[in-house]
């Protein structure tokens, strides 16, 4: 199978280059990550992140034939050759397919990604109705892989000011939680021309999310809440 892979080692390369590989795969190689692991046996200098190899840890996000995705759950049969692999767009490249995710996590951290409730907790669990719990479905499953934010033009232009789809999805995960008591501060924190309102519903985030989540809908819900609050 033929691959064309973005290579950059700041110690050796003045600028990024592409390297072509042609490798015989084993019949058991199913996912793109299997092929990458096989490539690494031939060329141990190829650098990429990976861990769980089942789509739940979020390590191996990359740009695959022009679309962001997770290598471990991308079936090789779905890929056109040569398979072109690039690091996630819009973030500084550390080396090869490894990007510096600081900006992405900084935005995630900026939304107070934790439950806020200063009432003394009961001795047992706080009660939550199944319906209230259901409103967290499609939100809490985010794996922070950054496929969405790095597919978003608004995030490319303003990664320091726009929270981005992943951060906003997580912001709504806490806004929507019946146990959270920080609604007003959370909305204040987002009511800003950049932090929230740079989202123009381009919906790239929805297209690429490997977990099938819908950040655009979550962002829309936050916008509605801010507008309603103002009325």
């Amino acid at each position: 199978m033929k691959f064309r892979i973005y290579r950059y080692d700041p110690e050796k390369d003045a600028k990024p280059r592409f390297q072509e590989y042609d490798i015989a795969l084993d019949p058991h190689d199913r996912m793109l990550l299997d092929a990458l692991v096989r490539l690494k046996v031939v060329d141990d200098s190829l650098a990429f992140r990976r861990s769980c190899r089942e789509g739940v840890c979020g390590s191996d996000a990359m740009n695959i034939n022009g679309t962001n995705g997770l290598a471990c759950i991308t079936n090789l049969k779905t890929l056109k050759e040569p398979v072109e692999l690039r690091p996630l767009p819009g973030l500084p490249v550390v080396r090869d397919l490894i990007v510096d995710m600081s900006q992405f996590f900084k935005q995630y951290h900026s939304i107070k990604p934790y439950l806020v409730n200063d009432e003394p907790p009961p001795e047992r669990e706080r009660l939550q109705s199944p319906e209230d719990r259901e409103s967290l479905d499609g939100l809490y499953e985010c794996i922070l892989c950054a496929c969405c934010s790095t597919a978003c033009p608004s995030f490319w232009w303003n990664p320091d000011k726009f929270v981005g789809p992943a951060g906003l999805l997580n912001a709504y995960r806490f806004i929507a939680d019946s146990r959270d008591r920080d609604l007003n501060d959370r909305l204040d924190n987002l009511e800003d021309p950049y932090r929230l309102f740079r989202c123009h519903s381009i919906m790239n985030c929805v297209d690429v999310c490997p977990k099938g989540l819908n950040p655009t809908r979550a962002i829309g819900n936050i916008k509605t809440m801010i507008v309603k609050r103002a009325v």
Binding site: R50, C52, E54, G55, Y140
Partner: protein, 588 residues
């Protein structure tokens, strides 16, 4: 003085999975200066892949008690678990689950608003009478929800993380006191000494010593390797859990929650064979028993598929509603990795390496304990271990499903509390030994200098194949003795590895070479311990010694790296407050 730069902390935690982050929360909230090192961003730790639930006797579905949970855990452990530690864990279970809920964990709910609990293997009401719903669940993503919740709470507590740093070796002084670690910052290639008054390993499992494993790439036994190289023995390493349901060929985990929700195992004749092996709990017997039964079915020619080498996990009868609500990720995994939609078709599954019951010996405070003179449990000053890398021992010879997440929470918390109680900020750092860091520097220098040699990937691949072939579900003397020889050959080869990549920037080839050293230590500990134990107990099934032998083997194994020496220590059969559960025959 050492050639390496030094940074100082009160406490150091190596690993940011469930155990490490539950411990760091106690430390950060108490205001200690604590550094948490992790090879990966914290939410990428392998706790994220746990699916089914957390065991705790909340009694939300029907009457339950921690004493029943304790009995199930002891029976599950085939009486090799220490009953004091098991009592401690099961009594603490409801509290640590409630804490998680208060932190914001999105547990599934019952109509009355309480946490939803599902049945799980080996969990029973009234000392084995019938199955019970004890596993507190977030759909089939409990580990993901728990790891993210713990990370979020640590963000709130402003815990300091060192992300993509790999710890290389422990630093001990002449008195044996642990003073910190050497560590490699992966992005820059820089090596440093991180000095601490307390060092806690939370490095997780090591399932990557086997070819067919549910474990992540990062699960390379780094804590075990570091401990072994520093002279600390490893306990009960022969006990490795085969999870009954890994996707055939892919190894990806299919949670026991599938059977908890009503899924069943079928052989090629369409027979629900677990009824024969475990008439009472059937498909929800403990994992060692279900895995062996599956292996037996396959061996006797009743496997499915063209090679008759797997069995089927049927769940279509649960209906799309239950599957989509309670087991959505399982459906996703089955479609992606097995080409079947479980709403219509069964999933091909085989027993797959999943969990290491053994590890670094500790007490209930997470303090590492080793034999000294007549006392088998003398504390190693300054060193703690929690989670899968530790052996408290609450899992003994076989862990019950849902007790791993519980273990992370209970002992991460208790070890964190113990470190807080030491009032470390009032104490000074002990002087570093002259040779601090030399071992790590020598390991790195060898790799940098080697221009040709063994391929890391090939040695690691051969190691996994050998462990799979010689230390599988069923073991015998010949297999194990040959296995010992093979692992020793591989150890020699691992000392001759070379890597082509010499860059300092995010050199993943170097990381994999360093991980190989830890895999080798883990594999040696496993195969030596398994070879020596001439009985069958829990996950150690020897076809040449098929019976449990309490007269000779009701004891913990300790493996020392130096000379591959084995020692033994008694099992603690005395609980903290209740009457002991004496060993008896184990049926489900």
């Amino acid at each position: 003085m050492s050639r390496l730069p030094v940074r100082r902390f009160d406490a150091l935690i190596i690993g940011a999975g469930g155990a490490g982050m539950r411990a760091s929360l106690q430390l950060a909230e108490a205001g200690l200066s604590v550094a948490v090192l992790s090879k990966v961003f914290p939410t990428r730790s392998h706790t994220v892949a746990a699916q089914g639930g957390i065991g705790a006797s909340l009694g939300n579905m029907s009457e339950d008690s921690w004493l029943w949970h304790m009995y199930d855990t002891i029976k599950g452990s085939d009486w090799l678990g220490d009953q004091d530690a098991i009592e401690y864990m099961c009594r603490m279970a409801p509290q640590v689950v409630y804490e998680l809920e208060h932190y914001g964990m999105p547990f599934d709910r019952n109509a009355d608003g309480t946490i939803y609990q599902r049945p799980f293997g080996g969990h029973s009401a009234n000392f084995g009478e019938k199955a019970i719903q004890r596993a507190c669940a977030v759909a089939d993503r409990t580990g993901h929800a728990m790891l993210h919740t713990l990370y979020q709470r640590n963000v709130r507590a402003r815990t300091q993380f060192f992300v993509e740093w790999m710890a290389l070796d422990l630093i001990r002084d002449a008195d044996g006191e642990v003073l910190g670690v050497t560590a490699l910052e992966m992005e820059t290639g820089e090596v440093m000494i991180l000095e601490a008054k307390a060092t806690m390993f939370a490095t997780g499992g090591a399932g990557r010593i086997f070819a067919a494993s549910t474990n992540a790439f990062i699960n390379t036994g780094d804590g075990l390797g570091m401990a072994a190289r520093a002279g600390v023995p490893l306990q009960d390493m022969e006990f490795w859990q085969f999870h009954p349901t890994g996707v055939a060929g892919a190894g990806v985990l299919i949670t026991e929650a599938v059977r908890g929700e009503g899924g069943i195992l079928l052989n090629s004749q369409g027979e629900r064979f677990m009824e024969r092996y475990a008439p009472n709990l059937k498909d929800l017997a403990s994992r060692d028993i279900v895995s062996r039964s599956m292996d037996q079915e396959i061996k006797e020619g009743r496997g499915c598929g063209p090679h008759k080498d797997y069995v089927l996990l049927k769940l279509d009868h649960l209906g799309p509603e239950v599957i989509n609500k309670r087991l959505p990720s399982i459906r996703e995994i089955a479609i992606k990795f097995a080409n079947v939609d479980p709403i219509r078709e069964p999933i091909p599954v085989v027993p797959t390496i999943h969990y290491m019951m053994g590890g670094i010996p500790t007490n209930v405070h997470g303090q590492v304990v080793v034999p000294q003179g007549a006392d088998p449990t003398v504390v190693v000053p300054g060193l703690y271990a929690v989670g899968e890398c530790a052996c408290v021992s609450v899992h003994g010879a076989n862990r019950l499903g849902t007790n791993s997440l519980l273990d992370l929470l209970v002992f991460g918390r208790s070890a964190g509390n113990h470190v807080v109680s030491l009032n470390l900020s009032a104490q000074s750092h002990r002087p570093l030994p002259q040779d601090a860091g030399e071992l790590s520097l020598a390991r790195l220098a060898r790799l940098d200098a080697a221009t040709s040699g063994e391929s890391v990937a090939e040695v690691a691949g051969d190691l996994r194949k050998s462990m799979q072939a010689h230390c599988g579900v069923f073991r015998n003397q010949q297999l194990l003795s040959e296995g010992v020889d093979k692992i020793l050959e591989l150890e020699a080869r691992a000392q001759r590895t070379a890597i082509g990549d010499k860059s300092r920037t995010f050199n993943t080839a170097r990381v994999e070479a360093l991980e190989l050293d830890n895999l080798i230590e883990t594999a040696k500990a496993t195969i030596y311990s398994a070879e020596a134990r001439r009985e069958s107990r829990g996950a150690q099934a020897r076809s040449d010694y098929p019976a449990r032998d309490d007269a000779n083997w009701l004891k913990h194994t300790l493996w020392y790296r130096d000379g591959n020496r084995l020692d033994y220590k008694p099992v603690n059969l005395k609980p903290l407050t209740v009457d002991a559960f004496p060993p008896k025959a184990r049926t489900y």
